[in-house]
Symmetry: C2
Subunit: 491 residues, 2 copies
């Protein structure tokens, strides 16, 4: 059962049909004057009108590009660059690019890269624990307005589903005359498209269209200077020829989605409510993240204490469920998701479920039945679980746990020390849970760890288990990444 629609769905049947038809009718270069080219141009124009209509843009504001990633790269660089010279001459300093901390990595990378290239800076605006943009901090980052080349805020978060206050962000940008780029990749086809923006990006793959089609709309009056070699196509905003059959398929899928959008959203919003409720009931020690209400209809994310993200993915896969994870080691990355990090929530044992367009309630219920057993089995297989002790027994039952060989647990002036250096999360947290009962209530325990995920996971554990996280201290003599995390036992 595929539960990772947010990474890209299988192509919708209407999109397939449109693609195949366009292979016969729209395969030629739309810039050519002969009949095959003119025919491709007509189809491309029709597709552009259809997509522009859905996203609330004019056709001449809307271009097609090779992916959502490419659209974000183009928009960030193109808008920032066009404003950069003016900012430098007016202020004597480089431009500032303001993003939320939870934008898609393509937007963050583009903003960082562009800021460096233009001799400016990227400012990342914090989010709430639910993942929503901090509007006060955003307003502050936009000051002085004359310094800001671009603000970039997603319509909704792709990892946890939280909707962003785009209208409020727009109002703040409009005050300062700052262009606002809205990344609508996770939102298009799922919720109503954002109403106000200077530029908008999307990805057909996320709405049941083919791979290889991004959409970039730039409002009339927003200056744009392409950041790559000139090309006369797509208003100079997308290099290379347009993939007309894929664009037609993308347009067909988007139109089909829009026609059913509200009905599907209502149904899926309820299915996600069901998942949120059942996971909280049936999986012990779980943190469900993201806004429970102001969210996309189809995405839900939760983190399971004491479980490795990669092990969860693989065990769920064995059980026939395909999900995503923001935990480290679950793809080519060794660090936890920057979204979970910005939200300061538990990062290990993370699971993102995103519902495909045609999923049924029965399928969701099958997943919910299987999940608790899968989590339990992964926890049982963890390299080291918390020991059974009278203190922690009520909270965790890990009969097969082995004590860590390198655990040093010597009371000193600062209280007990757990040495989890060199061990990956969730082990530092597992060890903390195992040994918190060994110190008196009110005492402090120091957890030494060098896995970066511990910085998220130890405070998150304290919050979940109702102990107090006191902060961190460097322990340089044990390696450059070694940190002591201080936890006070509260009960």
């Amino acid at each position: 059962m595929f539960l990772d629609a947010a990474s890209g769905e299988p192509m919708d049947p209407v999109a397939r049909e449109a693609y195949m038809a366009a292979l016969d009718d729209g395969w030629a270069d739309a810039d050519r004057l002969y009949r095959e080219g003119r025919r491709a141009r007509m189809l491309l124009d029709a597709a552009r009108e259809a997509v522009a209509d859905v996203i609330g843009a004019r056709p001449d504001e809307t271009v097609f590009i090779s992916s959502g990633t490419a659209a974000l790269h183009a928009a960030v660089a193109g808008i920032s660059q066009s404003r950069s010279a003016g900012i430098r001459s007016a202020t004597g300093a480089g431009p500032r690019l303001v993003t939320s901390a939870v934008e898609h990595s393509a937007a963050l990378h583009a903003a960082g890269f562009t800021a460096t290239r233009l001799g400016g800076e990227q400012v990342s605006v914090p989010v709430s624990r639910l993942g929503a943009l901090d509007l006060d901090a955003f307003a502050a980052a936009l000051m002085p307005a004359g310094q800001v080349a671009l603000a970039c805020v997603q319509a909704a978060n792709h990892e946890v589903g939280t909707l962003q206050p785009v209208e409020e962000a727009w109002a703040l940008c409009a005050e300062g005359g700052i262009p606002l780029l809205v990344d609508a990749a996770a939102a298009l086809g799922r919720i109503a498209p954002p109403g106000h923006w200077s530029a908008l990006c999307g990805s057909a793959r996320k709405w049941g269209g083919p791979s290889g089609v991004g959409v970039l709309a730039v409002r009339k009056g927003t200056r744009f200077a392409p950041a790559w070699p000139e090309d006369e196509r797509e208003r100079g905003r997308a290099p290379g020829p347009v993939n007309v059959p894929a664009v037609l398929a993308a347009a067909a899928a988007l139109r089909a989605r829009e026609a059913e959008r509200e009905a599907v959203a209502t149904r899926q919003h309820a299915l996600v409510d069901l998942i949120r409720a059942r996971v909280a009931e049936t999986v012990p020690d779980v943190e469900i993240v993201g806004d429970p209400e102001r969210r996309l209809p189809h995405i839900v994310t939760f983190s399971c204490l004491y479980a490795e993200g990669e092990a969860l993915l693989l065990e769920l896969d064995k059980a026939g469920f395909s999900v995503s994870s923001g935990s480290s080691c679950t793809a080519s990355t060794l660090t936890p998701s920057h979204v979970l990090e910005a939200m300061r929530v538990l990062s290990h044992g993370n699971v993102r479920v995103s519902l495909p367009w045609r999923i049924t309630e029965d399928e969701v219920r099958r997943f919910l039945e299987a999940l608790p057993g899968v989590v339990a089995s992964v926890r049982a297989q963890a390299p080291s679980g918390p020991a059974v002790s009278t203190e922690t027994d009520a909270e965790e039952t890990r009969p097969d746990a082995e004590p860590l060989r390198n655990l040093s647990h010597s009371p000193d002036s600062s209280g007990s020390v757990i040495d989890a250096l060199g061990r990956k999360c969730p082990i530092p947290v597992i060890e903390l849970a195992k040994h918190i009962g060994d110190v008196p209530v009110g005492a402090t325990i120091r957890v030494l760890a060098d896995d970066v995920a511990a910085r998220l996971d130890i405070p998150a554990w304290c919050r979940m288990r109702e102990h107090t996280y006191l902060g961190e201290e460097p322990v340089g003599e044990r390696g450059p990444d070694a940190v002591a995390y201080l936890v006070r036992r509260d009960h």
Copy 2:
């Protein structure tokens, strides 16, 4: 009848089949750990091996990117940038990017753009009248080698079909330790892939694969620094997710082409010989351009004196033939093809015929039968044709021609003057042909023109008609682009 295969062919049936199969099996994100992702990864790996095998690369040297244009942009910027800092610190000056003058516009734009960004210079190496790289000039442009970041030479020209001396270019680059980028977009699937290169680019669209797939191979040991925001995919060399179904289709098409390549090439080489011979016999006043022997099997280009390129395209289209043209005004461009310009051949009335994979001799013969009538009718419709005079009668018969209103034809110390200012090619040439007989043999005629194509077309006309082109002089008082072209009547 589609005769513009060099712009991109319809997708091959084997590619369609592979694409449709991969929509079921390979639609997922190949970086995901679950079954759909692993399956996509397996298919992607297989496609990569297949393509790498054909182009003579290792799979880990080969990445997929969104188009041939994107591949060229990436290669030019990625290689040049990685060498730029070293060049600057060693020589104190910016890097030099060396290209042939007849590279694809994507390569030329990328080289110009990258040179500007890196504070270096782009050097364009001239070609022979047949379109072949001038190796002496190329060798000179590579000196001193320590200054050169990249050399870029196509395997074969996409507009006129001339093969480039890539092996000789490689030897010159190797001497200086200069990386050589070979653009094989026009060549792959048509001739044997080039043997030596530091990086190689291709476009699936040109070999019967889908739109939206470029291939970029970079030899182990060639340094490469991506010129855009980081992305962990495709070795960081192509942003955004890989379009796995399209890549599989591309690989299937390339393999199918390679299996039949030599047989098709032999047949099409003979068909192009037939076209070259018949066009020369049946179309008066035609210049067939490009190397008659050292050429791609499927491309032939010729220019028809006294005919407008756009009118030829449209008239051929009405007659059912789709061809391309390097003349001005035939697409979004108002200048003639830079390839024809670099070759110093006639640019107006230009027609490129490029044979699709499955064309038959009967089809080619049908085109050859129709062509002379189409050219004649376009010439008859020209805004002004050469007048009938005893001198030019033997050469041109244009009974319906009208004299130009703004023709000033006053003998003075420099001979007669034809004032074609404000008139587009071919009119200046038509006027020249009409009036050359009005001056005595040995006298000079001055043609005033401000269409840039005249700079190519007046010398080309002189060559074809065996008069002497004496050079040009500015005539500033008649506008910034006004030029006087001097022609001596020789017979």
